[in-house]
């Protein structure tokens, strides 16, 4: 097994392996210049990584009634005329039917990379767009295609994003009958004026209806998605949104801090931190409020913007944060296979051409460009520091060298003292700042004791960009 994997590695990274075995000059060059990340150790890490066969698939269903003012996702706006779209089975929107056709063709034309074994999907995530606008009949087609191609586990987590006002009991029941078992409800806010100002296609009434529908259909695992720092959002509004969410008792809550993206309506209207957007301090307070209220209500803050009741982490999203490979299908979606992230075209026409080319064998989404150990190290740090579990220093050290661990520790030292960064031992007991300092001064001692580094909640999470880019400085100076 290992041998076969190595041979496949050779085909993917021929230059790298050659470097290790044959080219003395290059090895000298590497050892002479200070290398923050042990490049030749990375292959080992790659092996560890690639031992996981991809068992997750993201499926992009880009249709929305209209574009929200903050959104820069690849979507297709259908217009407001067809609120439910699927009341009459015969009147499926031809744009959707056509897209699903291409989507299924893409799935069929995708091959399992040679170094992976074919494993059935453990998670499937229908994201959007507004996937709930797609008639269940067509969702079923996608699932069947996936099943035929890779297999889908019987107990797979199958999530779908749904917007209030786009589904009824019947539709949700149909979806559940297809195996969909997790609903992510795009609520965003509980205030009419806020929903309006961010261009949502639904009101507060639809939110309550949707929550009722989810309850009456008996969906056990479901999430409420909220956005904080919306324009004109006041502290009491945010508090109200959080308490109404808690009252609805979802198993999962996602809290996004609004990002003002360039090519959006918000981008042209507003500047982050400036009126009518909340200032930096206020928006930090919103984050703290969410962290406190949700924790008090029994939710775990398991990732920067994700909370859940015990055992209800989103398995699909977790594959992202632990840097596991995954498939992706559909407009603008990004897959991660063989250490390579590949984004599909964001324009419908280009995407269709892409599918055509894929079928004709002209595209290979895990080809050419070489994977760099440094890149992997940065991905691992960036993603795992988003989680409450944090960065697993033992395996990170194994892959990238204990000197890397030491420099990461060195750069985080002042932030451990300030409480933004938390060090944990094997039993996840916190290592106090003074103890950490003395262990660090003894060099290798720290490697023995330190098992995890995580960002504190909420202070460290709030400054995660700063803290992660500090680590980047060490990994890729």
């Amino acid at each position: 097994m290992l041998r076969s994997m190595l041979t496949s590695m050779l085909t993917v990274f021929p230059s790298k392996i050659k470097t290790r075995n044959y080219s003395n000059t290059i090895i000298i060059a590497i050892t002479n210049s200070p290398q923050p990340v042990r490049r030749n150790a990375s292959t080992e890490y790659m092996l560890l990584q690639q031992q996981h066969n991809p068992t997750s698939a993201y499926v992009h269903l880009p249709f929305c009634r209209k574009r929200c003012h903050y959104c820069d996702f690849p979507i297709v706006a259908l217009g407001l005329s067809s609120p439910h779209g699927d009341e009459d089975e015969d009147e499926d929107d031809p744009r959707i039917v056509n897209y699903i056709d291409y989507l299924c063709r893409e799935i069929k034309a995708t091959s399992v990379p040679s170094n992976y074994n074919k494993s059935p999907m453990e998670t499937v995530f229908f994201g959007g767009g507004t996937p709930s606008l797609v008639p269940p009949r067509l969702v079923s087609l996608v699932l069947e295609t996936l099943d035929a191609k890779f297999g889908v586990c019987t107990d797979a987590e199958i999530s779908i994003e749904m917007d209030p006002g786009t589904f009824d009991v019947e539709k949700l029941k149909d979806l559940m009958n297809l195996g969909v078992n997790r609903v992510s409800l795009g609520v965003q806010a509980f205030q009419e004026e806020l929903l309006k100002s961010c261009g949502r296609a639904h009101g507060v009434r639809e939110i309550h209806e949707a929550i009722d529908i989810v309850g009456s259909c008996g969906v056990e695992n479901w999430s409420v998605d909220l956005i904080s720092s919306l324009p004109h959002q006041k502290s009491h509004m945010w508090e109200e949104s959080l308490s109404l969410t808690i009252q609805a008792k979802p198993t999962h809550v996602s809290v996004y801090d609004l990002q003002v993206e360039q090519d959006t309506k918000f981008g042209s209207l507003y500047t982050a931190g400036e009126f009518p957007l909340p200032c930096e301090n206020q928006s930090a307070d919103f984050y703290r409020m969410a962290s406190e209220m949700l924790r008090d209500a029994g939710y775990e803050h398991y990732e920067i913007s994700s909370y859940c009741k015990s055992g209800y982490q989103c398995k699909h999203n977790y594959t992202y944060w632990i840097n596991k490979p995954f498939y992706a299908f559909g407009l603008g979606s990004a897959s991660y296979l063989n250490g390579l992230r590949f984004s599909r075209p964001r324009k419908l026409k280009d995407y269709k051409d892409y599918v055509q080319n894929l079928e004709n064998g002209l595209v290979n989404c895990f080809q050419d460009s070489k994977v760099d150990a440094q890149d992997i190290a940065m991905d691992v740090v960036m993603l795992s520091l988003r989680t409450a579990r944090g960065l697993d220093m033992k395996s990170f050290g194994k892959a990238f060298g204990s000197s890397t661990i030491l420099s990461v520790c060195e750069v985080y030292k002042p932030h451990i003292e300030s409480g933004h960064v938390v060090c944990l031992d094997e039993q996840r007991r916190e290592i106090a700042a003074e103890e950490f300092s003395s262990l660090l001064s003894e060099g290798n001692k720290i490697n023995e004791v330190l098992a995890y580094i995580r960002l504190s909640d909420p202070d460290g999470f709030l400054l995660s960009n700063e803290l992660i880019s500090l680590a980047f400085n060490v990994l890729a100076p």
Binding site: D257, Q259, F326, L463, N465, E466, A476
Partner: protein, 664 residues
């Protein structure tokens, strides 16, 4: 091709005002690529002209010193000096009309902002003129001078080779500050002065008023003034006859042993060092062995000729003539401007040298990215090859790393140097606040000349007994409506009024003694803005004066930032301190901890601001499709940090250093 050449030329010819107006035949015969790497080497007129019609016919023996006139054109900026020079070159057939870029220099940014010719440039012209009853051929050397006072050492160097000067005054604007300064330089050099009232074609021209000004300011006879328009050509025909009739021939003796004055030098990629020389006595031939009076070093003259205006080999130069020599010098440092060159094995009395360059403004130059030190070092070396007037010493700063302390002749010189570093050598530099050379005296009798404020101890061991600062005599000419605000401004800048008079009913003339420090940063801009751009300003160095000076330290979380230290007059310390601290608060980004910004004199804090800690910097979502994008964002953030300068644990963006330059 030609537009590319033009673009190239705009980069390489900052220092050659006459030659830029000439279509240059050599640039087309030389592969362009060979020009590029050394394009900064000032003049591109570095090779003998090929296929030159006249080259073989020029016989300098026909021009005894009686038939030679050496003159320069002096003027306030924009009064038409360059255009007049262009016309004279055209009139004598030295360049062809309509070729090349007229007044190319004035299009450069630094020119527009300040207005200057930086480097002297010479052109030899031939002109036939009825003189003492017979048609005679004359050899005329036009020695162009920089207009700005920063380069007055260049001016005096050029004037030393002249016997006369055309004093060009704009017919509408009248006498301006640089007119005054340049007049006195020429006057002190005993030059024959021919007033030229130019731009008389303008609707607002008032030559009579200008004549009256010339009379009252300089005691120049109104009837001597020539009225011209270099633009329309009006009156130009009188100029060269006036030069020949009114300016005396050079006084040298052709029979005496050779003495020549080294006027200037630059480095040419192909020929090595090219020296501009004025033959005072005797004659120079190709192949002669010559010797430097200053260094004793001897050289063999491998090429000798005139600037016509490109280099034209003549094989000889005779007394009174001005030309170039190539002598195998390896670096312009061997070519000491003002040096006397003579034949080896002859004993001569050296000519009086020029004023050596005096460095009045100092600033630290650091690579914007610390790792670029070698690149900056290289760029500075290359640039000083052609501008020996900059002094350069290595220095280091805890905040900025390794860099250089550079001494400049003045502000403009500093600006030009910075600009050339960036434009011609692609160097990105952080410059520290310019300072002037102060003198601090201590009770143990020691004296400290301070070129870098950081080098001045904040808490000295011995008691300070005196501090002295350099001053300048500033000349300001303004429309009389603006007298009030200008007096206020000068008083704010600790100026002492020396003279206040009226040139005529509309223009006031003022002289001030001012501390150099006060005009170093933004005086001229301020003056222009309060006078709607009508003020003209010039200054010359004056003595040191006793002054109550203090060192102002900037501290970030208690740590002094050496590169931000500055020396100020005690009366201004509080205001400057507050301003600096406020600026820093604005330009330093919030960080993960609180930052206390202080200004202090010794251990006494005089201004303080607190920058609160950053509250939030988080990317909410990060799913599969976002990973690449988010990582790019974070990497950008990381790169941003890398570009910052770090003092203690505080990151300082480069803009903060740039902004501090603007605080006076």
């Amino acid at each position: 091709m030609s537009s590319f050449r033009r673009a190239l030329r705009s980069k390489l010819s900052l220092f050659s005002s006459i030659s830029t107006s000439i279509s240059h035949p050599i640039a087309t015969t030389r592969p362009l690529s060979s020009l590029l790497p050394y394009s900064q080497n000032a003049s591109f007129c570095s090779r003998p002209r090929q296929n030159n019609k006249e080259g073989s016919t020029i016989d300098l023996n026909q021009y005894p010193s009686d038939n030679i006139r050496n003159f320069s054109i002096i003027a306030h900026v924009d009064h038409g000096k360059s255009t007049l020079a262009d016309r004279l070159l055209e009139l004598t057939g030295t360049i062809r009309k309509g070729h090349g870029q007229p007044q190319y220099l004035d299009k450069l940014q630094v020119e527009r902002e300040r207005g200057i010719t930086v480097k002297a440039q010479t052109a030899t012209m031939f002109h036939r003129h009825k003189f003492l009853g017979s048609d005679t051929n004359f050899l005329l050397n036009l020695i162009d001078t920089p207009g700005h006072v920063d380069f007055s050492y260049e001016v005096s160097r050029s004037l030393a080779a002249c016997q006369g000067a055309l004093l060009v005054v704009d017919a509408a604007q009248g006498v301006q500050a640089q007119t005054v300064a340049n007049f006195y330089l020429a006057f002190e050099s005993n030059l024959a002065i021919i007033p030229v009232i130019n731009k008389i074609d303008q609707p607002t021209a008032d030559p009579d008023r200008v004549k009256a000004q010339l009379k009252s300011m300089f005691d120049l006879d109104p009837s001597d003034a020539l009225l011209t328009s270099a633009k329309t050509g009006h009156g130009l025909e009188q100029v060269l006859p006036a030069v020949i009739d009114r300016i005396p021939p050079p006084p040298g003796r052709s029979t005496s042993p050779l003495r020549m004055l080294l006027l200037d030098s630059y480095y040419d990629e192909y020929k090595g060092v090219i020296c501009h020389v004025a033959i005072v006595d005797g004659a120079l031939h190709k192949g002669d062995k010559i010797c430097s009076a200053a260094t004793g070093q001897s050289y063999e003259v491998s090429d000798v000729g005139i600037m016509h205006p490109e280099l034209v080999t003549t094989g000889i130069l005779l007394a009174g003539q001005v030309g170039y020599i190539v002598s195998g010098m390896r670096s312009t440092k061997e070519a000491r401007v003002g040096d006397t060159l003579h034949h080896t094995r002859t004993v001569i009395h050296p000519l009086p040298g020029f004023k050596p360059a005096k460095h009045m403004v100092f600033s630290g130059l650091y690579p914007a990215d610390g790792s670029d030190f070698e690149a900056l070092n290289h760029a500075i070396e290359r640039l000083t090859c052609n501008d020996a007037s900059v002094s350069v010493t290595k220095e280091s700063s805890t905040a900025l790393g390794l860099g250089f302390r550079c001494g400049f002749l003045g502000l403009l010189h500093m600006d030009v140097f910075h600009q050339r570093l960036e434009q011609e050598h692609g160097a990105h530099v952080i410059s520290t606040v310019p300072t002037v050379p102060y003198i601090f005296e201590y009770s143990n009798g020691s004296k400290l000349q301070v070129q870098n404020p950081a080098a001045l101890p904040s808490n000295p061991k011995y008691q300070l007994v005196a501090c002295r600062e350099p001053t300048v005599i500033a000349t300001i000419i303004i429309p009389s409506d603006y007298v009030g605000p200008v007096i206020t401004l000068c008083a704010e800048r600790r100026g002492e009024q020396l003279e206040y008079s009226f040139i005529d009913s509309q223009r006031a003339f003022m002289k001030y003694r001012m501390p150099l420090r006060e005009i170093v940063v933004d005086f001229y801009n301020e003056l222009k803005s309060i006078t709607s751009g009508y003020a003209s300003f010039d200054y010359e160095d004056s003595e040191y004066q006793a002054s109550d000076l203090v060192k102002l330290d900037i501290l970030l979380n208690g740590q002094p930032v050496d590169a931000m230290a500055t020396i100020v007059h005690k009366s201004k310390a509080l205001r400057v301190g507050r301003e600096l601290v406020e600026k820093l608060k604005k330009f330093i980004d919030r960080q993960m901890f609180e930052i206390i910004i202080q200004a202090a004199i010794g251990s006494k804090v005089i201004a303080r601001e607190t920058l609160s800690a950053m509250r939030k910097n988080v990317l909410a979502k990060c799913y599969g499709g976002d990973v690449t994008r988010k990582r790019k964002l974070l990497e950008k953030q990381k790169e941003g940090k890398k570009r910052m300068k770090r003092v203690g644990s505080v990151d300082i963006p480069q803009e903060a250093f740039h902004e501090l330059l603007k605080v006076s």
